[in-house]
């Protein structure tokens, strides 16, 4: 992300506007310990804390995935805006129990994880945030094995730089 050399009134207006997209101060992470309301299945807290994609996959599933063309990942070439990137995945695999999305270049790779009870179609569409140009990975857990698909999404700011 471009770092703005000198904050001043109008720039602050833009900073505030782009605040939700520009991830400043990546270093210090005041990741508030999430107050977990009682929920029957466990929220994969550890997995969401991992920085790298590999650690997040290991924390979430405890095994590795193999690429498969049965997992169809749909994401834009160039994201219209890093804050709202429409992404969807469908698969022809059966006995699917879980679908997850990993954004490699984000501060925390695991973005979202969905539990797919039987009777639910193994497909999800959602809108994710991406800090910068990144590799996007979708992983489908089917019959205990992991299958993945990846796509490169280009992300940059807009405007001519006020």
């Amino acid at each position: 992300m471009t770092t703005t050399p000198k904050p001043h009134p109008t720039r602050r207006l833009i900073l505030q506007g782009a605040a939700s997209v520009a991830l400043l101060g990546l270093g210090n992470l005041p990741f508030a310990a999430p107050a977990r309301a009682a929920a029957n299945d466990k929220y994969p807290e550890e997995a969401f804390k991992q920085k790298s994609e590999a650690d997040a996959i290991k924390a979430l599933y405890g095994k590795t995935a193999e690429p498969s063309d049965k997992v169809k990942l749909d994401a834009p070439e160039i994201a219209e805006n890093g804050g709202v990137v429409p992404i969807s995945v469908t698969t022809t695999l059966d006995k699917v129990t879980s679908i997850s999305f990993f954004v490699a270049e984000n501060p925390f790779a695991l973005a979202a994880s969905y539990k797919i009870p039987d009777g639910t179609i193994p497909a999800v569409a959602n809108r994710l945030k991406m800090a910068r140009t990144t590799r996007l990975t979708a992983i489908v857990e089917a019959d205990g094995k992991l299958y993945s698909a990846t796509k490169e999404v280009k992300v940059t700011v807009g405007g001519c730089g006020g």
Partner: protein, 103 residues
């Protein structure tokens, strides 16, 4: 206060398609406000959809889900008029729930 959840469930007899848009800031905790202070992390962690007493879809979300999050999925085994129950909880213990009839 109107619910923070907008949901649309449409069934074509066999498969019900569900779309939901939820009003929530989804703050990552890494972004500074205009005064230069970090806005604390505030995001939905779990979103659950139930129908006829059974979970049909459970989402575990991190900080990378967009503000005012949107999700779409489909499931079998429900018909027009069934009731869909949607509820979410966030990392500050906030929550909301609503129900909607499948059209």
């Amino acid at each position: 206060m109107a619910s923070s959840i907008r949901v649309r469930g449409t069934s074509n007899g066999d498969i019900t398609e569900v779309q939901a848009l939820i009003q929530h800031p989804m703050d990552t905790g890494l972004v500074k406000d205009s005064k230069g202070e970090l806005i604390p992390a505030h995001f939905i962690q779990e979103l659950k959809f139930e129908c006829n007493g059974k979970d049909v879809f459970v989402a575990d979300w991190g900080t990378a889900v967009s503000k005012d999050p949107y999700v779409k999925f489909s499931f079998k085994g429900a018909k027009k008029g069934d009731e869909l129950k949607i509820s979410w909880t966030d990392n500050k213990g906030g929550s909301d729930t609503t129900t909607a009839k499948i059209a």
